[in-house]
Amino acid sequence: MIKFWSSFIILEFKKVCLVIFIALALLAAYASISFAAVGCSLNDPDRDVKRLFPEATGYKTDFITVKEAGGEELFKKIEQELGGKLDTLYETIDVPYAFYDVLKGKEVIAHIHGVNQKGIYGGMQIILATDLKGKILHFYYQKMSSPEASKFMDNNFTRQFASLSLDDFIQGKISIKDPTKESHEDFLATLRGVKKNLILLKELKINRKPGTK
């Protein structure tokens, strides 16, 4: 086995070095305009915008990272508001979040924004449509991996989030009941994901400082 790998390394070493050299050269060239993987963009924004806002005529997409909007200071502020550390896989400082301004003609009538949230069985994607002040108009899952996914995705559960705002979460004014029997951790993850979504909307979109990207 050792002979197997050592001969492979020797045979391929020069070739791999060449590829790595070119990779590093390209990376250096692109360092000034780089972005990380997008956090959670809509799979089909046209469909979602039409379904949620039949009066809409279009939408405008915007990508921004916490790093661009306020750096480490903002990252820590978001963690404080959330009441815990952000995940090192899904929620790093350089994840570009996608925001969609829903338009009726030239007028912005709502925002749509999604986040990834770690669940018990895998990632979930939590999408909120809000008014311009950040009050929830619609909530839905773009991806949900719970064994009781149908209960979470049911309108009877998701519509309870309508009209809530970030202040309601911060002040603990949430009276939504867990719709499941055995997926309480996914329920708590949902509440965290909704709160995180509202915090990011406030910090990266509604209250974004002039001059940041």
Partner: protein, 334 residues
């Protein structure tokens, strides 16, 4: 050819245009190697070579919203099985512009997935496990135009392409028409029906420049009907597709089944098991090419993944079997 060069030129110019409404830029490194009983040391899979690349994705907007999307995704690839003169290749994967005809309708032009089966709804750009597209059509990208849109309960896509795959050629009247109608991509259960009709050139490799090698100057007449589906249930993602039709006078059939499992307590780890079979002539015994693949991936961070895949080919040339192991380092991000 001139039109295609024009599209790529536009995309390169767009990539330096700073006033786009939204943009993101990925860098990519793929290092892959392994061992096969038949080929011994190998430095590539069916679609992946050691390579560096990038993806430049942009949305252009005005005061009425987004009106144009562009995507340019290229690789500089090194094939260690070729001599030094022919080892390097430029692979153009995505090179398209999508113009919004209205909310829910886009007109696309450039290089993109044929609208058939699982391929247009899955991202297989950096993965060892692939869909049936390479065996079914012969390639997983082609040059042309497409109309994509959504109805209240269904998404539809239709594409007319030149039938040459990665390279830009038009010979022997080649073309490819594909269309797919399917459920929205936001459902946990998704399925679709696809149709294909084409006179398709068959080539080897993933190179765009220099041109990949043609297996024949003559086109293969392809007719197909296909069904595909995906179902996400807890930590399992099930995928399947089947395609039936004719290659010239031969009846052909292909099918694929795959299950992906994410470890609940360590979601950086994913296991994959896939079986795919392509029967080149239903009237002949042992005309199939069947492969079982077991894969394991570990996400080091948001951008970097390590993968290993073991595959067993049941029936390659002259009825021989083959076992293969591939190891991959894949970076896609900053």
């Amino acid at each position: 050819m001139k039109i295609i060069i024009l599209i790529i030129s536009f995309l390169i110019v767009f990539s330096f245009y700073k006033n786009a409404a939204a943009e993101y830029f990925y860098k990519e490194i793929n290092l892959i190697g392994g061992y096969s009983d038949m080929d011994k040391w190998i430095g590539k899979s069916e679609t992946l070579s050691n390579s560096v690349g990038f993806e430049d994705f942009r949305k252009f907007s005005n005061e009425y919203g987004d009106f144009l999307t562009s995507d340019l995704q290229m690789r500089l690839a090194y094939d260690s099985t070729e001599n030094s003169q022919e080892a390097w290749a430029l692979e153009v994967h995505n090179a398209w512009l999508a113009y919004k005809l209205g909310l829910g309708r886009d007109l696309k032009i450039g290089h993109f997935d044929p609208e058939f089966g699982l391929e247009p709804i899955l991202d297989t750009h950096g993965t060892i496990l692939q869909t049936l597209a390479m065996k079914d059509i012969g390639f997983n990208k082609d040059w042309g135009v497409a109309l994509e849109g959504s109805l209240s309960e269904l998404d539809y896509k239709a594409a007319l392409q030149i039938g040459s795959g990665m390279s830009v050629r038009h010979r022997d009247g080649s073309y490819l028409f594909t269309t797919r109608i399917g459920t929205p991509t936001t459902n946990n259960l998704q399925y679709g029906l696809s149709l294909m009709r084409g006179e398709v050139l068959q080539s080897e490799g993933m190179s765009t420049f220099p041109l990949d090698d043609l297996l024949s100057d003559k086109v293969v007449t392809k007719n197909r009907i296909g069904l595909d589906g995906q179902y996400l249930f807890t930590s399992y993602l099930f995928k399947g597709e089947v395609a039936y039709g004719r290659n010239d006078d031969d009846d052909v059939l292909g099918y694929l089944g795959e299950v992906d499992y994410t470890l609940p307590r360590n979601q950086k780890i994913q296991m994959e098991l896939q079986f795919q079979s392509w029967i080149n002539d239903l009237t002949e015994d042992k005309s199939d090419d069947s492969t079982l693949i077991a894969g394991l991936s570990y996400k080091l961070n948001q951008n970097t993944t390590l993968r290993v895949a073991f595959s067993h080919d049941f029936n390659l040339m002259e009825g021989r079997e083959d076992d293969k192991i591939l190891v991959q380092f894949y970076y896609f991000g900053i």
